[in-house]
Symmetry: C2
């Protein structure tokens, strides 16, 4: 059993109402990997960085059970860089700078020993790159999860729709669900998106929780009410990492277990936003995770006996 | 056991992306009463209308177990009228017209047989009017719930703060919680507002559910994902009605039972928005309510066993 994680490994510079960082380690695959690592030791990473990427950051991933054999290091090139500033409500942000660098010509190569991974997490990337990874798998993974964003819907919609036919779980946020479906109602959106291919759809609503849909059922997981969200960067990726990490650990992809996985994902996202960047995920213990899960249980548990 | 409900009984004219009504029956106390009536037969109403208010509407309230002895009918005067138009997202609206009419000089009189009601629901009204009702109670009710809105915070903040010292449960929406506390974080808002007097705070987040706080605990109830919200008018009042109606029925105001009451309130609100005005609440059966409660249970139920 193992998870193959594909996505960006990057530098971020983040500004929120609570502070501002220099260049720090970020990227979808970084958050996904760190978050999954609390549930499984079998993590394979496919990504790309430049020669400016610090060896210490790669070591940090390795100590979190991440195999970095699939992490290309391009000499003479620079790591993908993103800089953004969050507005006061923390739900919207402006991109201040994007330097694609190594991402511009990223041609993912899946090492032979990764090609049998039975869980595949396609982190947010150009859809054609996500597809190249899927095509290199020796056998169809037990579960394929794909995360994407509005940018790809704007510019590469047909590629994205092609990929959607091959994935089991799609994770997007509420605005993206509305854009992809053309429907305002999330219930109607979900129906339309599930017709595009995915068997399951997770709609992430940030501080308002997440919805898990299949063709017949819906499950809602709240976000934990938090004193202060310091930095929302990576919350969605931490969610995805907790989700797929828990599924790999339990080897059960039933809807009932996906509910539990969504709660685990929500717990990991709730940690992520408490500090800037990957800091909180890096310092976390599994005891912290269990205590947080208990908070989620207490948050939504009620006991109603119906008369009929 | 009985509930005294104070609030507006009114005419509304509503426009949403899904349609438009003529003058229909509305008002906070109308929605609260109808919603509570599914849980208790002991409903006392204190409000005011003009001579233009139809006898059929009063009969409709009576058939829903509402005693209208405390409903003043002012001859030669007109009923409070509100008209509004909801934006495409249904979360924001413009007020098109407000005619206070009988509300301008509303002096509530609590009939003697109401003065021992042990549950008091102070629906959204001018804080000084809410207080006049509280002052007429012979003994302190077992539970006092107060609903209010940003308008009163803008113009009668000191009166409102005076009332807050005397209530058990305050229900407001997220923006109002932020305004009242001056804090963006809802967790921090709740702490500050609970210091103003209420023992419990319910923050209503519309389609994003509701939070129940006391000094030590927090509970989250989702909103039911609905195909189309046709008309959000009265949803908050339907919530309040289900909440206090269930508490009166069960005679238990513990935090555990308040959780159940919040779920019952959410269920009633989810019905309210399915049709325009009070239509859905009027036609509802208790079997419908039970079926909806089961949907809420299924929506959030998950089963995680922690290792430690």
């Amino acid at each position: 059993m193992s998870i193959l994680i594909v996505g960006t490994v990057a530098f971020d510079a983040i500004e929120t109402p609570f502070g501002k960082t220099e260049k720090i380690i970020g990227g979808a695959a970084t958050y996904i990997s760190l978050s999954s690592s609390f549930f499984t030791k079998n993590l394979n990473l496919v990504s790309v960085v430049g020669e400016d990427f610090p060896e210490t950051a790669i070591e940090m991933l390795k100590t979190h059970n991440v195999c970095t054999k699939g992490l290309q290091i391009k000499s003479g090139e620079k790591t993908f860089f993103w800089s953004g500033k969050y507005h006061d409500d923390m739900n919207t942000r402006d991109t201040l700078d994007t330097q694609l660098n190594v991402l511009e010509n990223f041609d993912p190569t899946v090492p032979q020993e990764y090609q049998n991974s039975n869980y595949l997490m396609l982190g947010n990337l150009m859809p054609s790159v996500q597809k190249k990874v899927l095509d290199q798998m020796k056998k169809r993974p037990k579960l394929v999860v794909l995360d994407t964003m509005n940018f790809w819907m704007d510019h590469f919609l047909e590629d994205l729709k092609e990929s959607l036919k091959q994935v089991d779980v799609l994770t997007i946020n509420d605005e993206e669900a509305r854009q992809l479906s053309g429907e305002h109602s999330l219930v109607k959106s979900a129906k339309l998106i599930l017709e595009m291919g995915p068997k399951y759809l997770i709609i992430k609503k940030g501080e308002h929780g997440a919805l898990l849909f299949n063709h017949n059922e819906v499950f809602f997981a709240p976000a934990l009410p938090i004193d202060d969200v310091l930095d929302p960067t990576g919350a969605g990726d931490s969610f995805a990492g907790g989700f797929i990490g828990y599924l790999e650990k339990t080897e059960d992809i039933s809807f009932e277990n996906m509910k539990r996985a969504v709660i685990h994902g929500s717990a990991m996202a709730s940690f992520c936003v408490e500090k800037f960047g990957t800091q909180r995920l890096e310092e976390l213990s599994y005891e912290d995770v269990e205590a947080r899960l208990k908070q989620f249980i207490d948050l939504v548990r009620f006991d109603i006996s119906l008369e009929n």
